[in-house]
């Protein structure tokens, strides 16, 4: 444990820990002071959203994942750097050929209802995920599975229709592939009110809009874990109230959405408010490439050149944001690191060159256009306003159109407005969020990008199991996207600013904002 902390701090402070654990510069627990873990105690968490049901397979909602991630586990899980997967319910796996994955299940794992985990449960889970009746948002991802074989109760074989390198990453993410119990689902019908998982905590009480109570799973398979006796998720939608509750000690862990609220909390004694060290929320601006003016690459390049990206991170995020190419910086090693972003084509501000490009494209006197954003999350509108100023210098007159979140998502996906921007949350694989938005075969391609060069790079990256090769391919993708300015990524920010009471020990925030480390946290 001690060595672990030191190593992390070292990595963080030298800037090599790009994978970032969410904190680094401010030492949270000095290595030599780390007290021994202690059993017992209930942790109260100030939760911002009421979950829209607890079935892990029915929704992509963050609010559901926040709860399900404690009840369920997956075949694999993310290591502490959040960049590689490691064994969880499966203790070992093989990849004998690019289209076959063999998983060996852990012995003696029990679901919360007492039944023992077998390969049939795993098979059932993935059948349920692709069953249209389940209405899972991940159908298209898991349709790659051609067949699931269960030669014995401890072995599962997945046969894929084509090589698919993101597969293990999805199998490590609870939001995508939480393993459920066949009997439990048959009995309950669905898991909206909760279900039996294999996770460190089990659901005790679900009072919508008020409280979600979990108790320790005594049969959890990691010996001695979890240390906590239970988790109480107190639902407090108002950010200021959550800040007050953390100060008052009514909750010991919460997160905030605005950098200003977060900086306010940094100086409060007895509160650990680490600065995010890696950024997973990618701000992504789409152009409608089907119509003028943005069908002209020169206009898009001019737009990109007119932006001062460093200023955006400074002004909007008080410096707590990173420069980014088309993959968020936390997606190491695939993403172009923040420090190298300005070296990509058309990324560094150059107003004179931008004006020249505009003139060359026949827009010397500029044009008017509409930019759709949503005020639902902090940052989007603020960034749009700064961009409005910046591109105003080259004659692009932006009218900002504020839309409500679900309306914006619809606009974004159907390319209603000439420009629209949304913040994308963390996805398990580089393929998840960004690549599918740029692939001409993708059903979610808001900019209507159609570039055979890009398509080929993306397909190769999706099929290659060699990390070094994938990295090379995704770097090429980012180079190509920047060069053609298909999308603009002004910055990447933190998904959430997580903070907790000093009483909570052993906890660490991860950029994907999964609170999986609560299983090894304790209250002092």
């Amino acid at each position: 444990m001690k060595a672990d902390f030191t190593r992390r701090q070292f990595l963080g402070s030298t800037g090599m820990g790009l994978v970032a654990l969410g904190y680094g510069a401010r030492p949270v627990v000095a290595a030599d002071e780390t007290p021994a873990p202690k059993r017992g105690g209930v942790l109260t968490i100030g939760q911002d959203e009421n979950p829209i049901g607890l079935d892990p397979h029915k929704t992509a909602a963050f609010s559901t994942g926040n709860i399900a991630e404690h009840i369920y586990t997956c075949l694999l899980r993310w290591d502490e750097t959040s960049s590689h997967v490691e064994p969880d319910l499966a203790t070992a796996w093989e990849n004998p050929d690019p289209q076959t994955f063999v998983f060996h299940l852990r012995d003696g794992v029990k679901f919360h209802n007492g039944s023992v985990l077998t390969s049939e449960d795993v098979k059932f889970t993935f059948e349920r995920l692709v069953d249209p009746a389940t209405r899972s948002p991940w159908v298209s991802i898991f349709s790659v599975i051609k067949a699931i074989e269960t030669p014995d109760p401890k072995t599962v074989v997945f046969r894929l229709a084509s090589p698919f390198s993101p597969f293990p990453n999805y199998l490590a993410t609870i939001k995508y592939s939480a393993i459920v119990n066949r009997e439990d689902v048959r009995q309950r019908g669905d898991l909206v009110k909760g279900g039996a998982g294999t996770g460190p905590f089990m659901l005790e009480d679900f009072r919508p809009n008020s409280l979600i109570r979990m108790k320790r799973n005594p049969d959890y398979y990691e010996p001695g874990l979890p240390y906590l006796d239970g988790l109480d998720f107190r639902i407090i939608p108002d950010e200021a109230s959550r800040m007050a509750a953390l100060r008052a000690g009514s909750v010991q862990l919460t997160w905030l959405g605005r950098p200003d609220s977060a900086t306010q909390m940094r100086d409060v004694p007895d509160i650990v408010a680490p600065d995010p060290k890696s950024y997973s929320r990618l701000m992504l601006l789409e152009f409608d490439q089907r119509k003028p003016p943005f069908n002209d690459v020169r206009v898009r390049r001019a737009f990109s050149l007119a932006l001062n990206r460093e200023l955006i991170t400074k002004v909007v995020w008080r410096g707590f944001a990173g420069l980014t190419a088309s993959l968020p910086p936390m997606q190491t090693p695939f993403a172009v690191p923040s420090g190298e972003v300005l070296g990509l084509p058309y990324m560094k501000e150059d107003v004179a060159a931008a004006k020249a490009l505009m003139a060359e494209a026949g827009y010397a006197s500029g044009f008017e256009t509409v930019f759709a954003v949503s005020p639902a999350n902090y940052g989007d509108v603020q960034i749009a306003q700064i961009m409005q100023q910046m591109v105003g210098r080259i004659g692009i007159r932006i009218k900002i159109l504020q839309k409500e979140w679900s309306q914006l998502v619809a606009d974004f996906q159907s390319t209603e407005s000439p420009m629209s921007m949304a913040g994308l949350v963390w996805g398990p694989d580089p393929d998840t969020n960004i690549s599918i938005r740029l692939d001409s075969n993708s059903t979610v391609n808001p900019g209507k990008t159609a570039d055979p060069v890009l398509d080929e790079l993306l397909a190769k990256a999706r099929q290659s199991y060699d990390e070094a090769e994938r990295t090379k391919l995704y770097r090429a993708v980012q180079q190509r996207v920047a060069d053609m300015a298909y999308i603009i990524t002004p910055c990447a920010a933190a998904l959430r600013w997580e903070m907790w009471s000093k009483k909570l020990q052993g906890y660490r925030a991860v950029p994907s904002a999964q609170r999986v480390y609560l299983r090894q946290s304790w209250l002092q």
């Binding site: 992509a60 809009n209 200021a240 007050a244 009514s250 159907s414």
Partner: protein, 317 residues
């Protein structure tokens, strides 16, 4: 009086029908799609997965058909299932309603307990410093929005009185006393504006009554100052005040939406807000209907209380 009451209650049926039709129309007029909520931003809205969801929720049917399906269910007492959660709506409402009812009732109680005596005192001391002071405080109370007072109260109390547990979970069924204790602060915050309104109406009505000749008569008969003020003065001034109480009660139900959000209370306001945010059409319909019924009922009770307060109305109908 019974016939009058029955008449009023029958009249609520068309009101509720109209409200349900309007809320159905409005929620569908707001752009946005529940499918995008359920499927998330990585699923195309015209993909097969999205179409599946749409079909399962009957959202592929024309709007009048959707409304018809809902109405037929509602008439049988079946408010349908929440589109987002897939669970029946009715139990959700049953579990969220008590918090809102208790919160509103407590606020109303606070508002009357503060507003009525303050109004009488202000009228009695008209133009002198107690009157000016009460009116100044009232102006402040009226012009400060509850979301500000709420957050300020939460922050100040958490800093200076941390043992006062402000944000604990409310469970009225299993721990009614603890629940009421937690609701004290939210109810107080919610009551401020109403207390002011009640104070102003009381003051105005009292000022009028105080100049009436029967007040002097009562005093001349030898009745005590306080007795004259309350029995003869306030009793006669109450009618407009009761109207004000009715109106503020309706405002309280609306204000509860904000206060529940600030204090994280599991009331009907939260349920409604989440439903609107997620485009959970059935849930919106049901909650709006319940809140409307509540407001209509309060108004009926106000109307009926006129009878109890003023016998003259009873005689002349």
């Amino acid at each position: 009086m019974l016939r009058y009451a029955a008449g009023r209650i029958v009249l609520t049926v068309p009101v509720l029908f109209g409200v349900s039709l309007m809320s159905f129309a409005i929620i569908h007029l707001i752009p946005g799609d529940i499918v995008s909520v359920l499927a998330g931003p990585t699923v195309a809205l015209d993909s097969e997965a999205a179409q599946n969801i749409r079909r399962a929720l009957h959202l592929d049917q024309p709007l009048p058909v959707q409304y018809g399906i809902w109405l037929m269910g509602a008439l049988r007492g079946d408010f349908g299932n929440s589109l987002v959660m897939g669970l029946p709506v009715a139990p959700q409402i049953v579990s969220h309603l008590p918090v809102t009812l208790v919160l509103t009732a407590m606020s109303l109680l606070f508002a009357i307990a503060v507003g009525l005596p303050a109004g009488v005192a202000a009228a009695k001391t008209r133009g002198r410093w107690p009157d000016l002071f009460i009116r100044a405080v009232a102006l402040l109370g009226l012009s400060t929005p509850p979301f500000f007072v709420g957050v300020a109260a939460v922050l100040l109390l958490s800093l200076y009185w941390p043992s006062f547990k402000i944000l604990s979970a409310v469970d009225l069924r299993h721990d009614p006393l603890g629940g009421i204790r937690t609701l004290l602060l939210p109810a107080f915050v919610l009551s401020l504006a109403s207390a002011t309104t009640i104070m102003r109406y009381t003051r105005a009505a009292m000022l009028e009554v105080l100049t009436e000749p029967f007040m002097a008569t009562a005093r001349a008969k030898g009745a005590g100052r306080l007795r004259v003020l309350i029995r003869h003065g306030l009793r006669n001034a109450l009618l407009p005040v009761v109207t004000a109480v009715g109106v503020t009660a309706a405002h309280l139900v609306a204000g509860a939406v904000v206060v529940e959000q600030v204090f994280g209370l599991p009331g009907i306001g939260q349920l409604m807000l989440n439903a609107i945010y997620h485009r959970d059409y059935t849930q919106v319909q049901a909650t709006v209907l319940v809140v409307t019924t509540l407001v209509v009922l309060i108004n009926i009770m106000v109307d009926l209380s006129y009878y109890a307060l003023d016998p003259r109305i009873q005689q002349h109908g």
